[in-house]
Subunit: 384 residues, 2 copies
């Protein structure tokens, strides 16, 4: 690992594989386990960087695919790189665009070289390869960049997933060669779909490349939560303990807690901001539709124990009024709360791990629920 | 005037009727002349109270008509009154609903008693009278409340305007009787359309009621800016100098400057926030569409001399990117800037008046321009 990045292991749970640590980056530390808010188009939807900072956010995620299409990496670089352009001086991670190319693009053609697709902005033909994705990410300038991977859908045949997983490995080797900046850490991504032996093979193969961090990708594409749990339980422990582990596109309280119990450190998901824009608050494990009649005259805060700006200043009745009136401020205030809530959830788990109380305190969250599923699949340009 | 309200006259321009002062309210002082941001539905669209405070906002305006329909004054009162409900501890003014009833409602019936109309929310028949408007405003609890007036359209016959103006006066007498709270100041509204003699008669009649403040209403309803200027020039000097004067629903740099030169102290308009939501920035008297190609790679702030959060942290290129991407954050950042800009404009004028430099420094703004017109007429429920 470059001297600019290091992972400090602080404590391990004595009953699960959960761990607490610190991931150091050129733009500051990330206390793990930690939820990372999603800032698709160089902003976490509805929030200023000042508001985002107040949620407790440390590392945030931006999307290479979206930023390449609009405004284009050259403009981000012209603005001094992603941090300066968007006014976020904390750590940033960019995904590689792989997930979006496979889930959003029409007219997609995959070859060993890379992927060709039509831009939803102007219909232009765009060619994305491992080299091009890394080049774009080098230009954007995030602290952590992700390998360009092939992300098979769910369901997919074992044969197709095996081919995609092997290609992802060959593409990763090309990413390593293409990567140019020592102030950026390139993470590899374990694919393998729901086939646990493919996942394990991939994890072991990737580990040999001695990358500064590893991610588990290709989950949250429509498979049931029990399968996500199984994939993570099988894969995470095989990844090198001295490196950060990142579960991509997850998720809910439950999915996060289960992954932490398997040794995962980092998470991202659009749920807190997307739900906020639908008038939904995340409160102590529940989700509340603020349009519900019971909130109309409820003058208590969303959560009396929550330190966020929203809970400190406004009542459920006021939020309900704003949601009913379709006021943009509703989405901002709910985004502030929801992100704070999910970050606090990972902070509370971290503290419990440091004090070895994780299993006793969070046992209720450690069984997957079939009803709950983080759906990252249908994300469009506006919708994160 | 109640002991809780007073107007301190600090300076007069030696060449115009412009004046600088302080209007004291139970929730703090308002340095005049001053622009008041509009917070229709108990929020200034897209902004938190903290962001609003940073723009330099002192008094803000909320709409009785809109708040009566949603969430209803009982819920606002249940939340501790308007200040506490919306988290704004500075001065607040509510309009009476008169303007909205006349410009927005369908199925409207006017009688001497009041106005009957159909709620656009649920089709329910609503009856608004001077007494009812004041009762609602007493319940909402703003610092300044406005008399319920009949606001004739433009154009309208002299006969119709005369009848409306006389009815407005009779309604004002009923408002005075109905008003119950000494911690709220009731302002009268001068009507009279574009008929200057009617305006003058109304101003003189209202003055005899010795109210704590006076407004000029019924402008910005589609008439050319030259006429607004003439109305204000004829009316404002007739209003008592020891009371604050408020020009309702105005406006642009030019309309504000002209009104200040006639002795007006307070202004409100939806332009800064509405334009922001259309991707338009107000910069030193100009208006810029951020989608314009020239901003795509312009890495300077909107206005280097502006102290607002937006100008201190973001480039035109970033704002252009957000507007092109239809990101809500664009509207927040532009609202912050536009409101700051218009308040700073009135602050700069105030300083110039205090130093008797107003006419020399602001001469360029003192002629009405036919192209520029503050359109408050078409405001709908969502659109302020």
């Amino acid at each position: 690992m470059s001297a600019k990045f290091s992972f400090q292991h602080l404590a391990s749970c004595s009953q699960t594989k959960a761990r607490a640590g610190v991931f150091f980056t050129p733009h500051g530390p990330v206390e793990t386990p930690r939820f990372m808010p999603v800032g698709t188009l160089a902003n976490v939807k509805t929030l200023t960087p000042a508001q985002l900072q107040d949620t407790g956010a440390q590392m945030i995620l931006c999307n290479t695919y979206h930023l390449h299409l609009q405004p284009g990496e050259a403009i981000v670089a012209g603005g001094g790189g992603l941090h300066k352009f968007m006014g976020w001086n904390g750590p940033i991670l960019t995904d590689s665009g792989g997930f979006q190319v496979f889930s959003l693009s029409e007219m997609r053609k995959i070859s060993e070289e890379g992927v060709t697709f039509r831009s939803p902005h102007d219909g232009q033909i765009i060619n994305l390869t491992p080299e091009r994705s890394i080049e774009i990410q080098n230009i954007l300038g995030a602290d952590v960049i992700m390998a360009f991977d092939e992300c098979p859908p769910y369901p997919a045949s074992r044969e197709d997933v095996e081919a995609a997983t092997q290609r992802t490995y060959r593409w990763l080797e090309r990413c390593v060669v293409a990567h140019q900046r020592s102030d950026q850490a390139l993470f590899g991504i374990v694919q393998g779909g729901v086939y646990l032996d493919l996942r394990c093979d991939a994890a072991i193969a990737l580990t040999k490349l001695d990358l500064p961090g590893y991610a588990i990708g290709g989950v949250s594409v429509g498979e049931p939560p029990e399968l996500i749990a199984k994939i993570v339980q099988a894969t995470a422990p095989l990844l090198p303990p001295e490196k950060p582990r990142y579960l991509m596109g997850v998720g809910t309280y439950r999915e996060i807690a289960i992954a932490i119990a398997s040794g995962v450190d980092l998470f991202d998901c659009v749920i807190p901001t997307r739900w906020a824009r639908h008038g939904t608050a995340m409160v102590q494990g529940d989700r509340w539709n603020l349009k519900n009649a019971r909130f109309r005259e409820d003058f208590t805060p969303l959560d009396e124990t929550c330190p966020c700006y929203t809970c400190q200043n406004f009542s459920r009745a006021y939020l309900s009024h704003l949601v009913r009136s379709q006021e943009i401020l509703a989405y901002t205030l709910l985004s502030i709360h929801n992100i704070t809530e999910l970050i606090r959830f990972t902070q509370r788990i971290r503290k419990a791990i440091l004090e070895d109380r994780f299993l006793t305190e969070f046992a209720q969250w450690l069984t997957p629920e079939s009803g709950e599923c983080s759906v990252d699949k249908d994300s469009g340009l506006i919708e994160d």
